[in-house]
Amino acid sequence: MIAFLTLGAVGLGFWGYQEHREKNAVLINAENSYQRAFHDLSYQVDLLHDKIGTTLAMNSRSSLSPALAEVWRITSQAHSDVGQLPLSLLPFNKTEEFLSNTGNFSYKTAVRDLDKKPLSQKEYETLKVLYKQSGDIQGELRKTQNLVLKNNLRWMDVELALASGREKTDNTIIDGFKTVEKTVSGYDETDFGPTFTNLQKKDENFNKLEGRKISSREAAAIAKKYMNFDENARLKVTDNGNGSDYGFYSVSLKNKRSGQEASMDITKKGGYPIWFINSRAVKNQKLSLNDAGNKAAAFLKNNGFKNMEVFESSQYDNVGVFDFVTSQNNIRIYPESIKLKIALDDGSIIGLSAEDYLKTHQDRKFSSPVLSKEEARKKVNPKLKVMEERLAVIVNDLNEEVLCYELLGTLGNDSYRIFINAKTGVEEQVEKLKNAESVL
């Protein structure tokens, strides 16, 4: 009996030891991947500082362009390292923004023809500022790195401290990263010059909307156009939170009997629908995608969205999704897009997204194109077989609206959509149109 128990105890002990060892191995593994990302980040910032420094001394296009491209590559590597560290609960936004702005600036200048348009004095100043700023960040990171190595600090402790909300506790790594962030926040907005556009989505906050402010009761009335009400439905209207850039009402509807739910956001100014979703189950298909498209077009017309034209339609199971854009004087205005979801069982509207439309819709005046159709055709790859063409307005890389010739065509087995600026002949955008993906 005693022998049996002893054996059991030894076995248990061995099992416990084994477990402990395995757990340790996993922890070390996780710690190591954090360490790799951290030291790599520090290395990339070192490199970034050096590389920007070298560009300052360069003069010829042949050496400047590749160096700037290199800066762009390093910033994106550093950005990716940041994304692998457990910093998501720590304010580190400014530093990340610094990295992507630097990357964006260097990319824009790297791809520019510097022989025709050399770096301006202003851009040169920007590079100098970036050189100094990356130096500051490098210094702070090096300090932290040094402490981490000297005191054997573990990133696992950072993760634990942040996850448990004890980031105020004394933690060298957290403090170090907070200092970096503080340093970057202290910088004035760097002037990146006129060709620079922030990667951040430009938020226009529905400034172009017309109309007066509506009440919550009016919002409910507007929502009725989109949702089916009956006596079993419970309606709730809530105000937007304080942090929103614009005023809106959220209207939600819950039908107790059918379990159906629908929600909608409506702008306070003018009472326009931002989006709407009805999450009911859709039964078997009775309508074709084409019928549904006609219903969608009629719906838009009846609800005050004028001159809309469908340009993309797709069927997902029993639901049709349609992309509409404004068409003015036969010119498609791609920024003004509205998406609609139609149930193919009864043709009712189960979704609408008009955010882009509401943010960009306005009366536009077009200057007539400088290039002729034939001239635009000559600008595309001669191997492309053009099948369709029209005039269209798109937003280009520099965040400007430009009038373009839109050319749809095929090359080999693939289809392409190409936009040629109707004024300058610049190839503004080339898009390979996606084929359906085989089900695996």
Binding site: E159, G165, Q200, S250, G351, M387, E437
Partner: protein
């Protein structure tokens, strides 16, 4: 043993005979349904359309039952050559002309090798805006792990936050980078992301990718009942959906 094998072979041959004979007995009564087929449609009518256009040599792609760009160009070329108005739609006149000009075997059994490879069902999926099926699946996993108890809108909202982060310069630039950013999502940290997602979460992801953002461009969300970080409470709050507060 050998005898048995012979018997089996004979049975197989008889079966095969039946299979090849069957198409002959089928009459060509069920043609296209009445619908106008347009780009983006999926289903049997599209399979028939692709097969017929393929028979005439206009369509050279894989017959997959999804009316994509190559089918669209094939149909337009057909309309052009047969003197029809070129609109890229499979309407009544176009279909009638197509049925007249081409052969199509409705049973799917097929006598020639080419027809035999024709699928009976749609074999491809439309994926929106350059997202692959695997990416959609990964997002569905994250959405399911994070918000499976939430109302449908709440699930679309979580998917929208992932996409807003991909767009933002403050976060990694890929879906996987955003989802697996350490500490970003609790479902990733505690492994709930590896639960099998249901159809609802996938639907929610598709809605978000197709352009629905119920959050008002939020980058963060938290559950006020369980959030431990004081920092997250300091973010500007946009709205509340289900149990989650969405902020900038």
């Amino acid at each position: 043993m050998k005898k048995k094998k012979n018997q089996m072979n004979r049975l197989l041959i008889i079966l095969l005979c039946f299979l090849t004979l069957m198409p002959l007995s089928a009459t060509e009564t069920f043609a296209f349904t009445g619908q106008v087929i347009q780009r983006g449609a999926v289903g049997d009518d599209v399979i028939e359309l692709q097969s017929r256009l393929g028979y005439l040599g206009f369509f050279r792609g894989k017959i997959d039952g999804v009316f994509g760009w190559s089918t669209y160009w094939a149909l337009r070329n057909f309309q052009d050559q047969f003197g029809l108005p070129v609109d890229g739609l499979g309407g009544a006149t176009t279909k009638a002309k197509l049925v007249k000009a081409s052969k199509y075997d409705y049973t799917g059994g097929g006598t020639t090798a080419k027809k035999a490879s024709r699928p009976k069902k749609t074999t491809a999926a439309i994926t929106p805006n350059g997202f692959s099926q695997n990416e959609i699946q990964l997002m569905a996993n994250a959405v399911h792990g994070e918000s499976r108890g939430e109302p449908y809108i709440g699930q679309v909202a979580v998917a929208a936050v992932i996409l807003n982060r991909v767009e933002s310069s403050n976060f990694p630039n890929t879906v996987s980078g955003v989802i697996f950013e350490p500490g970003a999502f609790t479902a990733v940290a505690d492994g709930q992301i590896w639960l099998t997602p249901n159809a609802t979460s996938k639907k929610a992801v598709l809605d978000a990718i197709n352009g629905w953002d119920p959050t008002g461009s939020a980058l963060y969300y938290f559950n006020p009942a369980t959030a431990t970080s004081s920092w997250i409470w300091g973010r500007p709050q946009i709205k509340k959906i289900g149990k989650h507060i969405f902020c900038k």
